[in-house]
Amino acid sequence: MPASEGSPDSSSSSRKSSKKPKYSRFSQQELPAYKPILTPQWVITVFVFIGIVFIPVGLASLSAANQVEEISERYDDKCGPQTNNTCERKITVKKKMKNPIYVYYQLDKFYQNHRRYVKSRNDLQLRQTSRGREQAGCDPISNTANPIVPCGLIAWSLFNDTYKFSVKDKDINVDKKDIAWKSDKDYKFGSQVYPKNFQKGEGGIGGGKLNESLPLSEQEDLIVWMRTAALPTFRKLYGKITVDLEVNDVVTVKIQNNYNTYKYGGQKLLVLSTTSWMGGKNHFLGRAYLTLGAISLFIAGCFIVLYIIKPRPLGDPAYLSWNRYPGGGI
C-alpha cells in the first residue's frame, strides 16, 4: 500500500524500531484472485454442459446394461428344505450368451456386513505361518489350544454348494481358477499357510471344508468368500464358463445343496451373467444419468426463460437494500 512507499529515507533509520507491518499482498489480503459470479451465461452453460455430458453417458450405460445377459435361478426352495442333497434345475437361455459367462451364487438376508461377522477374522494368521497361532478377534470360532486356521466366523461359514452344468447332456466346464483377486492370492493369503483344525470345533460345522493340503493362497473359494460383501443381498463369483450359450439352450444344473440358509429363511440363487464395461445388468445408473441430464437441460431452459422474462441487471446499486428502502438504513 502507498504508506509503505511514503518515506523511504526515514524508514532506513527507523526500520529497527518501527513496528509497522511489512507490506505484502498476502498479509494485506490482496492476493490475486478469481471472483466467480453466477451470471446467466455461466448458469446456462453449466446446466447445458451437464445435460450434454450426462445424456450420452446415460444412453451408453443403458445400452451396456442391455447387452448384458443375465439368468438367475432361485433354487433353495426347490432343493430344500433339507441340506446335503442334490437337485437338478433346468435353465433356458433366452438370448445368446457369449463367453466368458460368469457363474455366481447369490444369497440374500445374509449379513456378511454384520458387525459380529466382519470382525471375526484374523488377517495375520492368513498371511504368515509364523502367526498361525493368532486367534485374536476370531471369537466365537477360535481355539487357543488347537489354533484354528483360518479362524473366525467368516471362514467358518464358508459357502459350500456346488454346481455342475451341462447342455444337451454335454458337461460344461466351469473354470474355478482366478476367480479371486490376484492381490489377495499374492499378498493376503499365504502360500505357505495351510488350513488347520478347520471345521473341527465343538461348535459344529458351519459351512464348507477346506483341502488341508492346499495352501490358503490357492483356496480361491475361501478367498472370494472372505471378501465380505458390502450388502445383505450379494453374489459371489463361483466360476467362469468359457463357452458360448446359444438361444434356447437348456442348461441343466446339478446342485449339491449343502449350505443351510433355511434356518433363517435366506434365499439362494444361481446366476449366470455376461459382463460389460459397466459391470452387470444394471439399468439404474443409466436411467439416473438420463434423468439428471434431462433435468439439467430442463433447468437450463427454465433459466433462459426466467432471465428473459424477469431479468435483473447485475450489480445494479438500485437493488441495494438501503437504496430500495431509503431511510430504513439509519
Binding site: 500500500m1 502507498p2 518501527s18 513496528k19 509497522k20 507491518p21 498479509s27 494485506q28 489480503q29 484472485a33 471472483k35 459470479i37 453466477l38 445374509f110 449379513y111 456378511q112 456386513n113 454384520h114 458387525r115 466382519v118 488377517d123 498371511r127 476370531c138 471369537d139 466365537p140 477360535s142 481355539n143 466366523l153 461359514s157 492381490s183 493376503k188 465343538e202 459351512g207 471378501r227 460383501a229 458390502a230 450388502l231 445383505p232 443381498t233 450379494f234 443351510n260 433363517y264 429363511g265 464395461w277 459391470g279 444394471n282 445408473l285 439416473a288 444419468y289 439428471l292 435483473r312 447485475l314 450489480g315 445494479d316 437493488y319 441495494l320 437494500s321 438501503w322 438504513g329 439509519i330
Partner: protein
C-alpha cells in the same frame, strides 16, 4: 493560592447542579456551548460534594473503618484489613491443574469428548482403539493448558513486580524502605515525585507549604491533566519524623467510587472532615510535588483501583453461543439416529430371536476354547443399550469437535491478518493492532452499539486556542502563524528566559494591534480580554527546567484543559501568568511585570455557568472579570455599554459551527461602594455555617452584572484524526455510537458537535436530575416527546422528505448523577426505552462502574452486540462488560489495553476493524460453522444409511482410518483456509458502503434458518451419495472395502465441491487447499488399501478399474449438489443480498463509485502522518 475564600464543609451539596430537564427544540441553535471551567467545587480542607449527591453525614461506627494514624498494629488488631499485596493471577502451582481442567471442561464439547472417550474404554463398546480415542482430547486440553499457564505466568510476574516495589514507610520515626506488599493500613508513607502511589492514603503533608499535592490520575480515570489534592492545615504543620503523630481516621468501608471519599479525622482532639480532595489513590502518580506524606487507609485489593478492576470474565463470541445452541440440535439428531438404530436393532433381534444361534453371520453361542456361553450377547435389553451407546461412539463426529479446533486456528489466522494490516498501524505511537482475546474475532462483525470514552479516545486531549473575537472583530480570518517560528513569546527573569511550555498559533493582526495601538478603545478591550484570560482561572504556573539551562519553561497546570489553553494563549500574546498564590497573581504584560491582588473568586457552578474573579489592579482599580458560556453571559451584560453584541453572537455561532468550544469573556469595573458592598456580603457568605453555597452564589450573581462583553474565544479540543468521518461511517453502518465520559455535560456536548455526533438539527434531551422522582419525570417527558417526534418524522418521511439531515433524530444527554438514580432501579427500563429511540446518547460525569452499568443496560435488554472503546483505567470496567472491548494503545496508561480484547492506536481504526475485518471474520466464521456442521453431518448420515443395511449393527463401510482422517486430512484444510482468507467483498467496497455491515448485524451468515436449510441439504446430499452407489451395487459381488472407498471419495469430493461452490475468491491458496485435499484423500485411500493386513487390501485398485465406480462417483456428486446449486442461483439472482449486489458491482464495475472509492478511501485511511 486562593485559600482565603475556601468553602467549608457541607457547603456544596445538593444545590450546585441544576435539576429538571431541559428539552430543546430541534431547530434551536445550539444552546449549550459551554466549556468546562474546571469542576473544582474545590474546598481546601473541607469535604466537598462528591458528585453523587451524597450529603455529608456522620459515618456510622458500624459502617466505618477505623484507622489509627501511624499505629498499624492497633489499626489492624480488631479487623483484618487487607494487606497491600495484590494478586491478579488466576492459578497457583497447586491449583493450576484442577482449576484449569475445571475451566476447560466448561466447554460442553470437551465433556462430550470425555464421555465418548470413556465409553469407548468399555470392552463391550470398544469401537476404536483405546489410546486413539483419548488422543484428540488430550491434545486439545494440553494445548489450551499450556496457553493458559503462559498467560498466568505473565500475570504472576507483573504481580510480583508490583508487590515488590519499594515504598518509604515511617517506622519508629524514620522513613524506611519497605516492599509494597508489606504496607499495612495505618502506616505513614512518603511518596516522592513521579512515584506511583502504593495504596490509597489520606494526605497529611506535602513538600508544598500550603499542603498541595499534584497527582496524575491517568491510570485511574484516563485524564491526563494534573489534579490537586490537599493536606489538612492541622497535619501540615507537623514534622512527622520527630513529632509523634497520632490520631484516628474514621472512614467508609472500601468501595469502588473513585470520585468519592468520606471520613473524619481526629487529631489532637480536633475533629475535621475529609473528602475526596484529601485522599490520593493507588495507581496515581505524584507530580510536581517533591514529596507527599500520607496515611494508608485502604490497601491491596481494597484500594479503589483494584475494586474497580473487576475480574476479567472470559468472553465467548455471539456466533459461538449461537452455535452451541445448534449443537444441541445436532445432539438431538445424534440421539434420534441412535434411537432409530437401537429400535431397529431391537426389532431385528426380537424377530430373529430363535434364529440367532443358527445364523452363520450371528452365531450367538461361543464354542471357542470349550466355552459354551453366549458370545458377546448380553440379553435383548442390554444389546439395545449397547447398540445405542456404540451408536454414539460411531456417529460422534455429528457434534463437530474438530470445529472447535478449526475455529481456534481460523481465529489465529484472522488475528494475524488484523495485526498485519497496515491500515491498523498507528504511526504516531508506533503501535500495531493487538489481538488480546482470540475467541471473539467474529463479534467484530455484528456490533450494534459502540460505547466510546471521550478523552484520549475521540480526542487527543489537547486543547488548543484557535481564535478570538474581541470587541466585535473576528481575529480568526487572517493567516495564523505559529509563533514558534519566531521562538515564541518569552520574558527575561533573573537572567533567565521564561517561555510557556506550549506554543500557540497567534494572529499577527491581533499581535500588531496589541503592540502598537495603545490607547484606543479597541486596544483597551484587547488588553482586558487577555488580562481576563490570564487571570480568570485557577491555573497554577509551574516553572520547569528545559534542555537549555538558560531557558525555563512555564508549565500551566490545572484541572481544566480549556483554562490551560486560554492561559497559554494569553501568554503567547504577551500576557504571561508567572505566579499565583492564594492572595495575588503576577502577570507579565508585554515584558512589564504586574501584580494583581485576588480579592475574591466565584467558582464555576453549573447554574451560573460562569466564573469570576475580582482583581485589585496595580492602578488601584477593582475589576471583576467573568468568563462563561454564551447563554449565561449574554443575560448579564449591560445592554447600553455593549455595541458589538450582534457581531459577537454571529462570531460565536461561526466558531461553534467549526466545532470550537466557545467562551465569552466579560468584565466590569467596580467602584468603591460596589466593592465594599460586595466584599462585606462575600465575607459573610464565606463564613456562613448554613447554606454557604447558596449565599455565595447569590453574591456572585449580584456582582456578575452589567458586564461589558470583551469578546469570546474559540478553543479546539483536538479530535483525533478522522474521528468525525469514522463516526459518520459507523452510523451509516447502523451502529449506535454512545459517548460515555467523565467530562462535564457542556464539554461532552461540544465534543459531540465537533465529532459530528450531534448535529444542529437534532433534538436534544437533557437529563440531569438529583432525585429519583425528577429522573422519572424527565424520562417520562422524554418518552412522550420521542413518541411525538417519531410520529412527526414518520409523517415527514411519508411526505417524501428525507430525514438525512438529522431532522427527527434525537440525542440524549444524561449525567452521572441522574444515572445513580436510574441504574439498578426500576427506572432502568425507562432509560432504555428512551435511549434506544435516540440516535445519539451522551453520558457525562460518569464513574467507571457506571460506564459498565450503561453497557449492561443494553446488554441485558437487547441481544445486540456491544463494543466499548476507551483508553484509560476508568474504561476498564466498561471494556470488560461489553461484548467486545477495545483499548486505545499508544497513550499513557496501559490498563485499558490490558483489559481489552483488542487494542489499537486510533479511534478511526474502528472503521476498518469493524467494517472490513469484522465483516470478513463474521462472514467467514459463520460460513465455516455451517459448513462444518454440514460436512460432519453428511458423513454421519452416510454411515447411518449404511447402518440400516447391516442388520443395524453399526458396521461402517468407510474404514476406521478414513473415518479418523476425514476431519483431519480429507476436509479440514480447505475450510480453515477459506475461513482465514476468503473475502466476500473487497476492503474498498466495504469502506465505501458501510451499510454492508448490516449483514453481520442481521445475522445473515449464520442463523437458525440457515442451519435448518443446511441440514435439509445435508440430508439430501447424504442420500444422493449413499443411494446412488447402493442401488447399482445391490446384489453384486462388491465387497465392503470397495464400497467404503467409493463412499469415502464421493463424500470428500462432494464436501469439497460444496465448499468450492461457495468460495468467493479463488486465490492460489484456495485452489491448492481444495483440490489438494481431494488429491490427498485419493492418496490416503490408496495408501490405506495398500496395507495387506487390512481387510480392504487393494480394494480401491480393483474397484477403480470398473466403469460403474466412476459413474457412481460423478453421478452422486452432481445429484447431491444440484438442488443446492439451483437454489443458490435463484437466491443470488432473484433475492440478492446487498453483499451479492456489491460483489457483482465489484466484478463488473457497474458502479463508477466503486472505482473512485478506492482512491478516496486510501487518502482517508492512510493519511500521511508525521
Amino acid at each position: 493560592m486562593d485559600g482565603s475564600n475556601s468553602v467549608g464543609p457541607n457547603a456544596v451539596n445538593s444545590s450546585s447542579l441544576r435539576s429538571g430537564s431541559s428539552i430543546r427544540s430541534s431547530n434551536s441553535i445550539r444552546e449549550v456551548n459551554f466549556v468546562d471551567l474546571g469542576s473544582r467545587a474545590r474546598s481546601r480542607g473541607g469535604a466537598d460534594s462528591d458528585g453523587f449527591g451524597m450529603s455529608q453525614r456522620e459515618i456510622n461506627d458500624d459502617d466505618a473503618r477505623l484507622v489509627y494514624i501511624n499505629d498499624p498494629i492497633r489499626t489492624n488488631e480488631k479487623f483484618e484489613f487487607a494487606g497491600n499485596s495484590i494478586r491478579t493471577a488466576k492459578y497457583s502451582v497447586l491449583t493450576f491443574l484442577p482449576r484449569n481442567l475445571f475451566e476447560q471442561f466448561h466447554r460442553v464439547a470437551y465433556i462430550y469428548f470425555l464421555v465418548i472417550a470413556i465409553l469407548n474404554q468399555l470392552p463391550q463398546l470398544a469401537v476404536f482403539g483405546r489410546t486413539a480415542s483419548l488422543l484428540p482430547l488430550t491434545f486439545v486440553l494440553l494445548v489450551s493448558a499450556v496457553k493458559d499457564a503462559y498467560e498466568d505466568y505473565r500475570r504472576h510476574r507483573s504481580d510480583k513486580i508490583e508487590n515488590n516495589k519499594l515504598a518509604s514507610v515511617l517506622v519508629n520515626g524514620q522513613f524506611q524502605h519497605k516492599k509494597s506488599k508489606d504496607i499495612r493500613v495505618g502506616e505513614i508513607i512518603k511518596v516522592f515525585a513521579n512515584e506511583t502511589l502504593p495504596c490509597d492514603m489520606v494526605v497529611l503533608s506535602t513538600s508544598d507549604p500550603t499542603g498541595v499535592a499534584y497527582i496524575l490520575t491517568i491510570n485511574l480515570d484516563g485524564e491526563s491533566n494534573l489534579k490537586t489534592r490537599y493536606a489538612k492545615q492541622e497535619t501540615l504543620a507537623k514534622n512527622l519524623e520527630n513529632d509523634k503523630i497520632s490520631g484516628l481516621i474514621k472512614c467508609e468501608k472500601p468501595n469502588r467510587n473513585i470520585y468519592g471519599f468520606q471520613a473524619n479525622m481526629e487529631i489532637d482532639g480536633k475533629r475535621m472532615s475529609l473528602g475526596p480532595s484529601n485522599i490520593v489513590l493507588r495507581g496515581c502518580m505524584l507530580k510536581n510535588t517533591a514529596w507527599a506524606v500520607g496515611v494508608a487507609v485502604y490497601a491491596g485489593r481494597e484500594t479503589k483501583v483494584m475494586l474497580n478492576s473487576s475480574g476479567a470474565p472470559s468472553k465467548r463470541s455471539r456466533l459461538e453461543t449461537h452455535m452451541n445452541k445448534e449443537i444441541i440440535f445436532l445432539s438431538i439428531f445424534l440421539g434420534s439416529l441412535c434411537t432409530i438404530i437401537s429400535i431397529c436393532a431391537a426389532v431385528w433381534l426380537r424377530r430373529h430371536r430363535d434364529e440367532l444361534d443358527f445364523m452363520p453371520f450371528y452365531r450367538r453361542k461361543d464354542f471357542s476354547d470349550g466355552k459354551n456361553d453366549n458370545y458377546k450377547y448380553y440379553g435383548w435389553g442390554m444389546e439395545i443399550v449397547f447398540t445405542f451407546l456404540m451408536c454414539i461412539i460411531v456417529y460422534q463426529i455429528m457434534i463437530p469437535i474438530s470445529l472447535y479446533i478449526s475455529m481456534e486456528l481460523v481465529r489465529i489466522g484472522q488475528a494475524y491478518f488484523m495485526i498485519r494490516d497496515n491500515q491498523l498501524y498507528d504511526e504516531s505511537s508506533n503501535s500495531r493492532f493487538q489481538c488480546r482475546a482470540l475467541n471473539i474475532n467474529e463479534d467484530l462483525g455484528q456490533i450494534k452499539y459502540v460505547f466510546s470514552d471521550k478523552t484520549g479516545t475521540l480526542t487527543e486531549n489537547k486543547m488548543e486556542f484557535q481564535c478570538a473575537t474581541i470587541a466585535g472583530v473576528d481575529y480568526s480570518g487572517s493567516k495564523a502563524s505559529l509563533q514558534g517560528e519566531q521562538s515564541g513569546y518569552s520574558v527575561l527573569v533573573d537572567g533567565k528566559v521564561l517561555k510557556p511550555k506550549m506554543n500557540v498559533k497567534v494572529d499577527p493582526e491581533l499581535l500588531r494591534l496589541l503592540k502598537n495601538g495603545k490607547g484606543t478603545s479597541e486596544s483597551n478591550s484587547i488588553h482586558n480580554f487577555f488580562l481576563a484570560l490570564a487571570a480568570c482561572n485557577t491555573i497554577v504556573p509551574i516553572v520547569v527546567a528545559s534542555a537549555d539551562a538558560d531557558v525555563k519553561l512555564i508549565d500551566y497546570q490545572g484541572e481544566s484543559p480549556d483554562e490551560q489553553a486560554l492561559v497559554y494563549a494569553a501568554a503567547a500574546y504577551g500576557y504571561m501568568l508567572i505566579e499565583r498564590t492564594s492572595g495575588h497573581i503576577v502577570i507579565d504584560i508585554q515584558g512589564d511585570r504586574q501584580r494583581f491582588n485576588v480579592l475574591g473568586m466565584h467558582e464555576f457552578d453549573s447554574d451560573r455557568k460562569r466564573m469570576s474573579v475580582i482583581l485589585g489592579c496595580p492602578d488601584r482599580t477593582m475589576k471583576v472579570f467573568v468568563k462563561g458560556a454564551d447563554t449565561s453571559m449574554f443575560n448579564v451584560l449591560d445592554r447600553s455599554l455593549n455595541l458589538h453584541t450582534t457581531e459577537t453572537k454571529a462570531h460565536l455561532h461561526a466558531f461553534s459551527s467549526m466545532g470550537l468550544r466557545t467562551l465569552v469573556v466579560g468584565m466590569r469595573e467596580l467602584n468603591a461602594s460596589e466593592f465594599e458592598q460586595w466584599q462585606s456580603s462575600y465575607e459573610t457568605a464565606s463564613t456562613a455555617v448554613m447554606g454557604r453555597a447558596a449565599l455565595l452564589r447569590k453574591v456572585a450573581t449580584n456582582v456578575e452584572n452589567n458586564l461589558i462583553i470583551l469578546g469570546a474565544s474559540g478553543i479546539e479540543d483536538k479530535l483525533q484524526l478522522g474521528v468525525p468521518e469514522a463516526i459518520e461511517s459507523l452510523r451509516t453502518a447502523d451502529i449506535k455510537v454512545w459517548v460515555l465520559t467523565g467530562d462535564k455535560q457542556e464539554t461532552a456536548i461540544s465534543i459531540g458537535y465537533s465529532c459530528k455526533l450531534l448535529t444542529r438539527r437534532m433534538t436534544q434531551i437533557v437529563i440531569n436530575n438529583r432525585s429519583k422522582e425528577s429522573c422519572k419525570k424527565s424520562l417520562d417527558d422524554a418518552l412522550t416527546l420521542l413518541k411525538k417526534l417519531s410520529s412527526v418524522s414518520g409523517a415527514a418521511e411519508n411526505a417524501g422528505r428525507s430525514s438525512e439531515d438529522g431532522l427527527g433524530t434525537t440525542g440524549l444527554i444524561i449525567d452521572g448523577t441522574s444515572l445513580v438514580y436510574i441504574l439498578d432501579t426500576e427506572l432502568e427500563d425507562q432509560l432504555f426505552q428512551v435511549a434506544s429511540r435516540c440516535t445519539v446518547v451522551l453520558c457525562c460525569r460518569v464513574a467507571p462502574l457506571q460506564k459498565a452499568g450503561i453497557v449492561a443496560l443494553i446488554k441485558k435488554r437487547t441481544s445486540d452486540m456491544t463494543l466499548a472503546i476507551g483508553d484509560g483505567a476508568n474504561d476498564v470496567s466498561m471494556i470488560q462488560m461489553a461484548d467486545v472491548g477495545i483499548g486505545i494503545s499508544g497513550q499513557e496508561g496501559r490498563q485499558a489495553v490490558m483489559a481489552s480484547d483488542f487494542a489499537m492506536g486510533q479511534f478511526r481504526f474502528l472503521v476498518p476493524l469493524l467494517l472490513v475485518h469484522g465483516h470478513w471474520n463474521y462472514q467467514r466464521m459463520g460460513y465455516m460453522i455451517l459448513y462444518n456442521f454440514y460436512r460432519n453431518a453428511v458423513f454421519v448420515f452416510v454411515l447411518f444409511w449404511y447402518g440400516l443395511f447391516t442388520g443395524f449393527t453399526l458396521t461402517t463401510a468407510i474404514n476406521e482410518w478414513s473415518s479418523v482422517l476425514y476431519s483431519i486430512i480429507y476436509s479440514s484444510l480447505p475450510t480453515i483456509i477459506v475461513g482465514i482468507l476468503d473475502k466476500d467483498l473487497s476492503r474498498m467496497t466495504l469502506l465505501k458502503h458501510p451499510q454492508l455491515y448490516g449483514a453481520g448485524q442481521r445475522n445473515e451468515s449464520y442463523n437458525t434458518k440457515l442451519f435448518w436449510v443446511t441440514m435439509i441439504d445435508t440430508l439430501w446430499q447424504s442420500m444422493a451419495i449413499f443411494f446412488t452407489a447402493l442401488i447399482p451395487y445391490w446384489g453384486t459381488d462388491v465387497d465392503i472395502a470397495s464400497m467404503g472407498d467409493l463412499w469415502t471419495l464421493a463424500v470428500v469430493i462432494l464436501v469439497n465441491a460444496h465448499l468450492a461452490m461457495d468460495v468467493y475468491r479463488w486465490t492460489w491458496l484456495a485452489h491448492a487447499s481444495i483440490w489438494g485435499s481431494i488429491i490427498a484423500t485419493w492418496i490416503c485411500v490408496m495408501v490405506i488399501d495398500a496395507v495387506p493386513i487390512l481387510v480392504g487390501y487393494w480394494a480401491f485398485f480393483h474397484v477403480a478399474g470398473t466403469g460403474l465406480f466412476w459413474l457412481c462417483m460423478l453421478g452422486s456428486v452432481v445429484a447431491g449438489l444440484l438442488p443446492r446449486f439451483v437454489v443458490k442461483i435463484l437466491i443470488e439472482y432473484y433475492r440478492p443480498s446487498d453483499i451479492q449486489i456489491a460483489r457483482e458491482a465489484e466484478k463488473f464495475g457497474t458502479l463508477r463509485e466503486f472505482e473512485s472509492a478506492e482512491v478516496e478511501m486510501n487518502s482517508v485511511s492512510d493519511p500521511a502522518r508525521g
